[in-house]
Amino acid sequence: MPSSVPRHWRENIKRYRLLGTKCASCGTIHYPRRTVCPSCKARELEEYQFKGSGKIYSYTIIRSPPEGYEFCKPYAAALIELEEGEIVTAQLTDCNFDDLEIGMPVESVIRRMFAYGESGIIVYGYKFRPILPRM
């Protein structure tokens, strides 16, 4: 992947905050954000802030990572069904692999995703972790 700054800069806010879109016409919400509503083809969309909590829809343990992600292997990845109903793809963090199960409640956190070498840009974004019991 090209390591240009704009490529990551333009996505920053959405990646840090799980910012999606909502269709002004039919009310459908989308994450990732879109410019055309796939439900009704409307092109008037407004920003929509997802809360950032949800549950595991499915998951896996990546043991053979792609180039650039070797530093954190093995790691868990999941499809997360957000509270609002949308599903997002992300890594799971701060978890024991053996405890993971479909339906487990999780919440989003900001984490380092990868870096372009020692002196390249560091890309941050959301990962999800099991919701800890509150004291």
Partner: protein
Amino acid sequence: MQDVAIVGVGCTPVGEPWDKSLREIAVDSTWNALDDAGTDEVDGLIVGNMSSGNFIDQESLGSLIADYGGLGNISAFKVEGACGSAGAAFKAGVMAVASGYHDVVCVTGVEKMTDVVGNSATKILANACDREYEAIHGVTFVGLNAMIMKRYMHDHKVTREQISTFPVNSHKNGVKNPNAMFRREISLDTVLNSPMVADPLTVMDCAPICDGAASVILTTRERAREFTDTPVIIKGCSVKVDTIGVHDRATVTSMAATKAAAKDAFAQAKMEPKDIQTAELHDAFSIMGVIGLEDLGFVPAGKGAKFAADGEIAIGGKLPCCTMGGLKARGHPVGATGVYQIVELAKNIRGDGVIDVENGIAQNIGGTGSTVSVAILGRDD
């Protein structure tokens, strides 16, 4: 619109030919098919290829292959749809002949994957999914399929053991195919106990990284007998897409693009699933073969694994699948695979394959079901 026929087929052995470049295997396969059709002339070349730019730093494959194939100043270009590139290229070839734009067209699918080292291939293959919202999270292509499998097992209460009979069947069939990468049988235990790549998929649930090229020569049904006594007719051919990301689908355990392409192809062929005698399924991962059986309409949702485990996909079963090894044993040189499937299906239909059938279906999947082509072939009757 004209009916279209396959009058020549060819391919190279799938594997790791370190002594051969992309242009060499593509030209070998193209001429193999031309020889089979008994001609040295085509007026169109359509190349199926996923990622030559990333695998070997080479684009402009239409020119490269026509040039080194000695085909002259013909119409030639590449069609891309990730691992479904060759199926999409095949459809482009069928359209070119059916429309009357071209008289004789060669479709060549080619991929040279083994010139990259380390984890580069894993990264390049992840370009088949959504780079910004899937791959950027370090989720591999195997990983996405693993999550599909995990959810499938959860929803349908199906075991890994049942799903993993798919590679066992493909390996058994690969033994008889001289062009297959793996020509040895494996046991279910081997699949289950192999190293995990992305749970629950082991290395033996996954198709290998390899090189290969496959070609077909197409012309009108009307002209077909000029080339061969055994033309194979394209009864139906469709390519449909779905969302790029798995996370944007109403369900992850079936592929809407397969269903849509199958519906279209069956309507063109005026056939139903029960009429089909063999299937070349896109078994890049065990679970994809299972879901393919269901989405093409051969079994209800959730029943594909049992159908396979009961031996119905074996040669001699109700619906022989992946008869020359499928993606798992023949190999999966991504942008070439869809044409390998057509070559194998055509051979089975015209009488120089491994089973005797009058018709069959091929399904080629790009990405996680983002681009799916379905072709139904049959004898000229």
